[in-house]
């Protein structure tokens, strides 16, 4: 059984007395996992990550990283972590190399490591160009290089694709896979876009309004999605289709009808039923299970 790298128990946090930002967060990240921490903006992702890194003082619950308490073993833990929280923290008046040089002795790594990480993120040829002249994507990549500098066992990336173009996003995805597969790095990556992380992650945690709605493997999430899948239908006469599909408990939207369905056989049956009733089928596809929809589904399930 793999070790747990991050474990939080009943983590709760309030910025203001009346507003509960986090409530009973039980995060579990196994060694070697790529853990996607998903949630819409303002759901509490950054607050959770800030608590993990000791940027915020823990108010309630416990945090264990590498089996140690962050408050008592802050230095030992931070030596083994690389992080990028929200926007890149770079010194605009320094070059890429100088930015890394600021932190190199703190992590106790050799000078060669700077070249290595700059090459990894594709910034080895920026020369004397200072960071303030970098594009947002370049800044993001430099911040990732900074996170990789200590060759960490755990990499925490908060919305790392912000500002990256589609090519940059693909490159980052490949980089995360490479770091995980070849270097055995455990990676915790937060995002508000499911499609962005689902190609990379092995485990997922979904947070919504400060509460964990789901935590498990990607197949577990897919089975949840399928269990709750809906079919989107548009026909030549939606009124009649609504009546014909009465047994499927249809829902009406502006242009379409939504019905619950549990597999391909059921989709074929629905299609046959519509055609037998002389209806022309213009659209018959599974409803896009985007994160927003998933949140709604999860919230409904939770309530």
């Amino acid at each position: 059984m793999k070790n747990t790298i991050i474990r939080t128990n009943g983590l709760s946090y309030k910025y203001a007395k009346a507003v509960q930002t986090l409530s009973d967060i039980n995060l579990e990240v196994a060694q070697g996992a790529v853990y996607g921490f998903l949630g819409p903006n303002g759901s509490g992702k950054t607050t959770t990550l800030s608590l993990l890194l000791g940027l915020l003082n823990n108010q309630q619950g416990t945090i264990e990283i590498f089996g140690k308490n962050i408050r008592q073993h802050r230095m030992d833990i931070l030596k083994r972590i690389g992080s990028l929280i929200e926007v890149p923290s770079l010194y605009g008046h320094l070059t890429a190399k100088e930015n890394l040089e600021v932190y190199r002795p703190i992590y106790g790594v050799k000078s060669d490591r700077i070249k290595e990480v700059l090459k990894t993120v594709g910034l080895e040829d920026t020369g004397k160009k200072t960071a303030k002249k970098f594009s947002l994507g370049m800044k993001q990549r430099l911040a990732i290089a900074l996170a990789l500098l200590p060759n960490p066992e755990l990499l925490i990336l908060d919305e790392p694709t912000n500002g990256l173009d589609p090519n940059g996003i693909i490159e980052l995805r490949q980089l995360i896979k490479m770091l995980n597969e070849q270097h055995g790095m455990t990676i915790l990556i937060s995002s508000h876009i499911l499609s962005e992380v689902e190609k990379t992650v092995s485990h997922l945690g979904i947070i919504y309004k400060g509460k964990m709605l789901f935590q498990g493997t990607l197949p577990e999430l897919h089975s949840f999605q399928q269990r709750d899948a809906k079919l989107c239908i548009n026909t030549s006469d939606n009124e009649m289709a609504y009546r014909v599909l009465g047994t499927y408990q249809p829902e009406r939207t502006e242009d379409t009808i939504l019905v619950h369905c549990s597999g391909n056989n059921e989709i074929a049956t629905i299609n046959r039923l519509l055609i037998q009733n002389n209806l022309d089928v213009y659209l018959l596809r599974p409803q896009e299970n985007n994160l927003e929809q998933l949140f709604i589904n999860l919230t409904t399930t939770a309530s």
């Binding site: 000791g54 915020l56 926007v87």
Partner: protein, 251 residues
């Protein structure tokens, strides 16, 4: 050891910053003005002044205005490096002790103050030497290096209190204008209290210590002012560090 590593990191951040340019320009300004004035001396110009007196009198503009204002500006600029570039998050998630981060920042401020005082002395020397080449006989004798160094160390001790207060204010306020505004206003109160209101309380006022150190009426109490300055520094650094440790949202 850890403190040295943190200090190295802090000094690296200063590369190409306004603080460095400000240090050199600020240090060169006074001596350059005096040099230009001495190029065409008026008939009653005092000649044969000792080099030591030249250096000791030369610290007056530094003590009265240049050093306090420079300290106010550099304090703010040092913190702005982190605030402007959102660097605090990276600093605080790196494996450095909080006390090392805090002290390294304060020591880098004082490294800049030392650099300023040293640059000022160099500028005083260079401009006076150049003037001597153009107008021989203006200066006389050998400079008493020990006396000059002691006088400068005294100025540094007198600015300790002010620097700790400004350090605390700049750490608290993310904004650039507010700490500078507060610092300049507090400094401006010093000459007002000394010359305008003739308030006795000025001898406890940290922003006035460097000024009092060069005023004939107050010079005798310079050691007392130095102790007040050290005490102020200890108090405000302690407050600043406590706040730095316990503040809920760290930048």
């Amino acid at each position: 050891m850890n403190l040295l590593v943190s200090l190295r990191s802090e000094t690296l951040k200063l590369k190409r910053t306004l603080s460095v340019y400000l240090c050199i320009l600020g240090a060169a300004f006074g001596p350059l003005m005096s040099f230009l004035e001495n190029l065409h001396p008026h008939p009653n110009q005092k000649r044969g002044q000792s080099w030591t007196i030249h250096f000791l009198e030369g610290r007056e503009p530094v003590s009265i205005a240049l050093l306090p204002l420079y300290t106010v500006l550099v304090c703010t600029l040092l913190m702005q490096i982190e605030y402007r570039d959102k660097g605090w998050k990276q600093v605080l998630t790196s494996p450095q002790r909080m006390i090392d981060i805090f002290l390294a920042k304060f020591l880098s401020l004082h490294a800049m103050i030392f650099l300023f005082l040293f640059s000022y002395l160099c500028c005083l020397g260079i401009t006076a030497f150049t003037t001597e080449l153009v107008q021989p006989g203006l200066y006389n004798g050998k400079p008493d290096i020990t006396a000059i160094l002691i006088a400068n160390v005294q100025v540094w001790i007198l600015v300790l209190g002010l620097s700790a207060i400004q350090f605390w204010i700049s750490l608290r306020l993310k904004n650039f204008i507010a700490p500078v505004g507060i610092g300049v206003a507090c400094w401006f109160l010093s000459p007002m209290m000394i010359f305008e209101f003739k308030a006795d309380i000025v001898q406890y006022y940290p922003y006035a210590f460097t000024i009092l150190g060069v005023l004939p009426d107050h010079k005798a109490n310079i050691v007392t002012y130095q102790w007040y300055s050290i005490a102020t520094a200890v108090i405000f650094l302690s407050i600043a560090f406590l706040e730095f440790r316990i503040r809920k949202v760290r930048m």
